[in-house]
Symmetry: none
Subunit: 206 residues, 2 copies
């Protein structure tokens, strides 16, 4: 599923709200009325973009033939116990039993992607990304990392949560979201970088 723009999100929300309110999807004109567009083609182009990106399907020729594609509803509502692992300044967030602080019962399809454990955040190096001390990051163990992903990285025995940014085949920058911290530049030829996984969600209890 590709990225959605803010305007496309507005249109998608508008469709969902309209369906909840009336029981049937809106026309192009209805969307224009709700969002203040003056041409039905404004709605049309957004709908086509949403269709292209896989958020909705459009029945050709049919009036109000819009349906929202829900990709986390088809998966069953199975709940599971997920471990909560503490991120210590010098320590590895493995699933070793001694690192499991407690568990949280949570539906398997809770986030947009499956995940493996919760990581309890220490420090404020990602505060500008809305990740605060003691927040729980839902971590998916994967090596499928793209630039801009929030990753759980280990260098030697140091574990950290940062933005991932591959500068060149051999250089990776781990970027904090806090002006008080500096980028960590990793030269893969000299240092070993292990990516534990990436963040697919966040949970905060207050």
């Amino acid at each position: 599923m590709k990225e959605i723009t803010s305007q496309q999100q507005r249109v998608l929300d508008c469709i969902q709200i309209y369906i909840n309110k009336t029981g049937f999807p809106p026309t192009r004109a209805d969307i224009c009325k709700e969002l203040g567009f003056k041409s039905p083609n404004s709605a049309e182009t957004h709908l086509r973009a949403l269709e292209k990106k896989g958020f909705i399907s459009i029945e050709s020729g049919a009036s109000r033939g819009i349906s929202i594609i829900n990709n986390d509803r088809n998966s069953s509502i199975n709940s599971d116990e997920y471990p909560v692992i503490g991120l210590v300044a010098a320590g590895s967030p493995t699933l070793a039993e001694e690192n499991i602080m407690n568990t949280i019962n949570c539906p398997e399809s809770f986030f947009n992607s499956s995940f493996d454990y919760f990581l309890k955040v220490k420090g404020l190096s990602m505060k500008n990304a809305g990740i605060m001390e003691d927040d729980l990051i839902a971590v998916k163990k994967t090596s499928d990392i793209k630039n801009g992903d929030i990753v759980i990285a280990r260098i030697d025995d140091e574990v950290t949560v940062k933005f991932f940014n591959r500068k060149s085949p051999k250089i990776v920058e781990l970027e904090p979201a806090n002006e008080d911290f500096e980028n960590i530049v990793v030269n893969l030829e000299q240092e070993e970088l292990h990516i534990e996984g990436k963040s697919v969600g966040l949970l905060r209890k207050n």
Copy 2:
């Protein structure tokens, strides 16, 4: 609710099946095709009968403007489905059905306190508190508010998420967590301040 005839039941079932299959209601012609009628008026008269008996509602003039009226409104009290409500700049986040964007299955004891619904955040006025755009705030409907709590407040029809700070019996300050925004000072003698509830947790999908 009056009695339903067998043919009307067939039509009602047809509508439900069509909605389940496509996501939107059928046209008169669609019903004819499904049930073997040869005139759209056959469907029309059945629809009018179903409407008269209260099984469906028909939006006049609108294509596919059929919606099935659900009489078994048992909002299953001990269910784990929590509604997600959009926070619109000028609009109230009530539990009115038209504002419910979707629901999230979640254990009742998920946060440290019980809660009533999720609120989808718009804007960045609380970014320094780690609340970002499109985050879902778990809202507990309560009037038990202490200074420093993150509250969902309504002034006139403006709804906002801010820190709560009672300065004096008559003065309440609503404080953002973003240097680009200013405190909202509410004189309770002059303005009406309604506290929808407070944040007891946060959920982010990325």
